[in-house]
Symmetry: C2
């Protein structure tokens, strides 16, 4: 009688994403192809341009997905939190880099084996489809911010987004530097910094520390973001 492997039973991401599509008895088949890996903040897990050898589930930590162009400019195109799926099945080559913003733990699956598993276990493919569609909708929401909002609105929208993801009531810890915020928002470090201090001056937020944001007036922040 198949039972749940200990590591999965103890995993905080057990009920999330891909893993959540497997029943306790079934999870063995996913566990069988998975190995654990951890990465310190700053480490590059995936290099754009390399062959795509694995996918993964984020167990803990935060990662950024980055694209760069011919002139070396960088744009963060996604953030990965615990439970999120990393990588793209069916794609032989990576077009984006993945970098740890904070120390992270991953559950890694070799891509060929994962693709076999997706064939053999239809609920897994459906769960990935659901997530992919949700991620796409999120990316498109972000496109509106990148294309149409000014610096103030971008920063406000970013803070709201982070607040939602960490379901913070009034204080939230940013998982990244001003530089990374700029990469995500299509702004320079300086502009991000100026907007943060401006929001502070206007009593919309407070900054007890560089990366600690207290939301003083969430509705005004939402109004500024023009969400």
């Amino acid at each position: 009688m198949p039972c749940e492997p200990d590591r999965c039973a103890a995993c905080s991401a057990r009920s999330e994403g891909l893993c959540g599509s497997f029943a306790d008895g079934d999870i063995t088949s996913l566990h069988a192809i998975a190995r654990r890996r951890s990465a310190p903040a700053g480490q590059v897990l995936v290099w754009a341009g390399e062959p795509a050898t694995f996918c993964a589930t984020v167990v803990s930590g935060v990662l950024k997905i980055v694209r760069h162009d011919a002139q070396g400019r960088e744009q963060i195109v996604g953030l990965l939190f615990p439970g999120d799926f990393v990588g793209e099945p069916f794609a032989d080559r990576r077009t984006e880099s993945v970098v740890a913003l904070k120390d992270a733990d991953l559950c890694v699956y070799p891509r060929p084996l994962l693709e076999q598993l997706l064939e053999a276990h239809p609920p897994a493919a459906r769960v990935l489809l659901r997530r992919a569609l949700a991620t796409l909708t999120n990316a498109r929401r972000w496109m509106l911010t990148l294309g149409r909002r000014d610096a103030r609105q971008k920063v406000a929208a970013f803070l709201l987004d982070m607040a939602e993801r960490s379901d913070a009531v009034d204080t939230l810890e940013l998982p990244m530097s001003r530089g990374a915020m700029g990469e995500a928002l299509g702004l320079t470090i300086e502009t991000v910094s100026r907007q943060m201090t401006a929001l502070c001056r206007d009593q919309v937020i407070a900054l007890p520390a560089c990366r600690t944001v207290r939301l003083l007036d969430r509705s005004r922040l939402a109004a500024l973001a023009a969400v």
Copy 2:
């Protein structure tokens, strides 16, 4: 013995996307839930905010997917060409509008029936997963353009993208106005227009007509786009 319905057999999108995941004998089950619909250029097929009642496959024409914010600013977040899949299964409410840029024909599926079909027919879910992942990668590529490139590079990148999609050798027909280009690029009409004439002046493209672009120097265009 099941055979291919006439309408599907004659359809130019038969081998594309969702339909392509069904064998000639199987297509009946998709055909059974589908009805045809056509829309003239300019017609709104989906209103953001409405309940999501259907998905569809584009048979002919071009559609735009648009998001708007509280201040009414609009951003095109995707374009749909023949064979592309319209709508988001599993999402109860639309967050984006879909508008025909050119007269279009669609093959429409009621969402609940489609979702049942995805359960019953795993290859269909896998095909949608593949497409969703590819669309996501495309959206992310576009995010780099929106966030990091200046007006000249945006317009150059857009023209290259359109050239690819219509696999044009040297002359391509834009399926949209300058205004829609601006919506897609996060620029004003005026800026798009100025960049187009500048590219013309620099002998990178020629404009026999407003929406007809002749690519005079594709490699220089690529260099300008900084792809």
